[in-house]
């Protein structure tokens, strides 16, 4: 193989440096822009608005509809011993009377933490139940023995999917039954 000339290699090595130096531009001095100087620029910009090249769409502002809810308002806050966490509404499946003051009763100054950290320190009074997506949506019932077990529990029960708190709807019956309910 023919070796490239050494001078060629040097040029290749030095070229980026030279190029970089060329790119260092001298600062641009100008008098600060004023309203008077900007009005014609804005006028021209309006005429050349790049959005105008796209097909116009009509209708109400979609950004104002279907907005996510405020996280705190759409969550239940669980607080205990200086910590607060939040779970989606309807993730607390069972709440014994004695723990009611720990729900949505955030103490100012509590540290807000994720569910896993909070649950790790509060396993004594919080039980989790793993549910499926179908169960979360109320399309599938919980296993009977699990329901029975939960009813007997004196702990607060939170529904989780793969350890993450998830909202759960009550079982709505089978699809045939649901359709019959709708038809009524």
């Amino acid at each position: 193989m023919k070796k490239p000339p050494v001078s060629g290699l040097i040029v290749i090595a030095v070229w980026p440096l030279l190029h970089a130096q060329q790119e260092v531009k001298a600062p641009v001095f100008r008098d600060a822009a004023t309203h008077q100087s900007l009005v014609p620029i804005l006028r021209e910009a309006s005429g050349n608005d790049p959005m105008k090249k796209l097909q116009k769409s009509e209708g109400a502002d979609p950004a104002k509809e279907n907005q996510p809810q405020n996280l705190i308002e759409s969550s239940d806050l669980i607080s205990f011993q200086g910590l607060t966490t939040l779970v989606p509404k309807r993730a607390i499946m069972q709440l014994p009377e004695k723990f009611k003051d720990r729900i949505n009763n955030h103490t100012p100054g509590n540290r807000v933490v994720g569910w896993l950290e909070f649950h790790a320190m509060n396993r004594g009074w919080i039980t989790t139940v793993e549910i499926s997506r179908s169960q979360a949506g109320g399309r599938e019932a919980l296993a009977e023995d699990l329901s029975e077990q939960l009813t007997k529990s004196k702990n607060m029960v939170v529904t989780v999917l793969d350890s993450g708190p998830i909202s759960s709807m009550p079982y709505r019956g089978d699809e045939k039954q649901q359709q019959e309910d709708i038809d009524k």
Partner: protein, 347 residues
């Protein structure tokens, strides 16, 4: 058609805080970040699942996005006082178009795109997964590009309610690929075009279909700050200095968040671009997130004037956009002292 995986990687790659402007926060700042996954359509299952997320990182959501997609909402919760802020949302589904929006300006600041009222910015839009078949649903063939503008008034945008932003225009995107839109200056409302302060937001939304309402695929905002202005007082144009240089007061308003301020003096009439001697006490470095106002005093600057004649004092600011002259005063210097008198002797 490119099928997305049924599960989705939740990626959070944001950094430190600038109010509720779109960055997930570190817990050390007293903020905790949550991503809420809402399955669409919301009714009748009403499924929401939360994950706690650090300021950066990625994890796999175990909740399938099929069949109709899911909305991922990034919220940050401030502990004291307790408040939550929605930072970003994305709608993801196997048959949902994928879009991204990025905004560039001449300011290399990385926390949030920002520019100045007189400077351009560039909106890079990339679309994939748009279909074009005759039998494909309309919602898979086009998306809506929204441009919102919102003035901060005289404030700096803290705790701004973005639902109050005005829809400036909306247009369809019907083709896959990348496209850059160049905006010479901002269209944020304001009577004085050099003093507008606010933000422009570009968002891509799906169009209404039978499965989900119009939902956000991507969004990015750019902050626009006003042009600085300033004045030099303590010396008048055309004034002659004979004994000593007077104390000067420099008043500067709306200093760009990343800038330097200084006053310089040089011999001769004003000439933009001249390099002079920086006046003592006039140099200031600003590294902030919002514009600043400052009043500076300059005194004992006689030594900078080395000869009689016409001299000019200029007030300048250096920003990512260049050097702007905010004001100047040219004056005369006559250091020579003439003594009119006589001495006589009488014997």
């Amino acid at each position: 058609m490119i099928m997305k995986t049924q599960q989705i990687l939740i990626a959070v790659a944001f950094s430190t805080f600038l109010a509720p402007l779109g960055n997930a926060q570190g817990t050390a700042d007293g903020y905790s970040n949550f991503i809420r996954q809402v399955q669409l359509p919301y009714e009748p299952d009403r499924i929401s699942r939360d994950v706690y997320v650090p300021a950066t990182g990625a994890q796999l959501s175990p909740l399938e996005i099929n069949p109709n997609g899911a909305r991922f909402e990034l919220h940050t919760v401030k502990a004291v006082p307790l408040a939550s802020y929605l930072l970003d949302t994305k709608y993801v589904g196997s048959s949902v178009p994928i879009g991204s929006v990025a905004i560039r300006s001449e300011d290399p600041y990385t926390q949030i795109p920002r520019t100045r009222a007189d400077r351009p910015f560039y909106v890079d839009i990339t679309m994939t997964n748009l279909l074009s078949g005759a039998g494909d649903a309309e919602s898979t063939k086009k998306v809506n590009l929204l441009r919102h503008v919102q003035s901060y008034g005289t404030g700096d945008g803290t705790a701004i309610n973005r639902s109050q932003a005005s829809l400036f225009s909306q247009n369809f995107l019907t083709e896959n690929g990348s496209n850059t839109l160049t905006f010479t200056v901002s269209s944020i409302p304001g009577a004085d075009r050099s003093k507008v302060r606010g933000e422009e937001r570009f968002s891509i939304f799906t169009i209404l279909d039978t499965q989900a309402p119009p939902s956000q695929l991507a969004s990015q905002l750019v902050q626009v700050w006003p042009v600085a202005h300033g004045s030099i007082s303590g010396i008048a144009s055309g004034q002659t200095i004979t004994l000593s240089a007077p104390a000067l007061t420099l008043a500067i308003n709306d200093i760009y968040p990343d800038s330097q301020i200084y006053a310089q003096v040089y011999q001769g009439n004003q000439a933009l671009g001249t390099t002079g001697t920086i006046l003592p006490g006039s140099a200031l470095i600003i590294k902030e997130t919002v514009p600043q106002n400052r009043i500076l005093t300059v005194s004992d600057w006689d030594y900078t004037i080395t000869s009689d004649g016409i001299w000019t004092v200029e007030l300048l600011t250096t920003t990512p956009f260049g050097v702007d002259r905010l004001g100047w005063v040219s004056f005369n210097v006559d250091w020579s002292i003439k003594v009119n008198g006589s001495v006589t002797t009488i014997e």
